[in-house]
Symmetry: C2
Subunit: 203 residues, 2 copies
């Protein structure tokens, strides 16, 4: 069991507060004043834990990227037919997105104004390319419809998956469903059905 007391901030606990504010107001729209109000401590106290606003962003997007890249290292993403591996990755992407919702949300909204943001954009592109390669292999194996170009299909599928951050809200402590009536399981299944019902050749 962890220590019972939980009164002072660590970079980690401060991050969870900051990320919420970043999401609500946007990163550029969030001032240190906003963060201090949300955390219940003064601006200067925040600087005791982190070097500044940008470090909070870096920690947040790093976490999201690590989780996403982690998917590609999982066994089911490495063995089997390209089509099977693709479906596994798509499902896991949805799961990771919901499990790490605030962090992935922030990652997907990064624009590229600062060095940290440009680094995040680059790593995102790298991940996209890895998944695009998977889809390309599935197409080469004949498991994906040929009348939609691979790169275009990748972009549209990513668009559908990533858009989940715009509306999905996790279930409360009771676990009886989320604020929108869609459970995690239901969302994963819906995405898989819509994506592959459209991507795969008519069965």
């Amino acid at each position: 069991m962890t220590t019972a007391k939980r009164d002072t901030y660590t970079p980690e606990t401060l991050l969870s507060v900051a990320v919420q504010v970043f999401i609500e107001r946007g990163y550029d729209g969030t001032s240190m004043e906003h963060l201090s109000k949300a955390a219940g401590i003064s601006k200067s106290s925040i600087y005791h834990h982190v070097t500044g606003k940008e470090e909070l962003l870096r920690r947040a997007v790093s976490r999201a990227l690590d989780e996403l890249f982690g998917i590609l290292d999982e066994e089911h993403a490495r063995v089997g037919s390209a089509s099977e591996r693709l479906e596994y990755v798509v499902r896991r992407m949805v799961e990771v997105l919901m499990a790490e919702l605030p962090y992935v949300t922030l990652l997907l909204r990064v624009r590229g104004n600062t060095g940290t943001e440009r680094w995040a954009l680059e790593r995102r592109r790298e991940f996209d390319h890895r998944v695009a390669a998977l889809l390309k292999d599935a197409a080469a194996e004949g498991d994906v419809r040929a009348d939609v170009e691979v790169r275009l299909a990748t972009r549209l599928v990513f668009g559908m998956i990533n858009s989940i951050v715009e509306w999905y809200r996790p279930a409360g402590p009771d676990g009886r469903g989320d604020a929108n009536g869609s459970g995690e399981r239901e969302v994963v299944e819906a995405v898989a059905r819509l994506v592959f019902g459209g991507l795969r050749k008519a069965s």
Copy 2:
């Protein structure tokens, strides 16, 4: 024919410059200084044309919303089976999104920090509900698969369509295709195929 000279700004021409900067840097990340540099005039000259930064945002999102709501008034969106009307609206949404790319892009990125932004979000929700109703009708008519909840499907389809703003870049003056190799026609067809190949019952 319009006047040949084009040297001084109007709110309209200034808007097209501002919208580009808003998209690149984000609305909150854009200062009046940034806008003045991009427009090639001083900050105070901008205030001669518009009341401030927020008016530029309001004009931009208004234009996008007007175009989107306009779709619902078109004949093919009002007559025929719900399934046919839905497909027409989906295709037209993609077309409008690409034709009014910068304005729709801005609309989709609005967060809700200012009054203008909250108004835009509300009108967006209204549009979403109108399309969701169409999908619901199509489901009632039995033309849409029943194993994915209507609201969930609407959200995912909107997500796919809206994500186009993240990568689509219009064709150059030569008209021989855009910067990504995807033409307008190709994108519309790809979306229609992916969306309805997944949404519709197996044929």
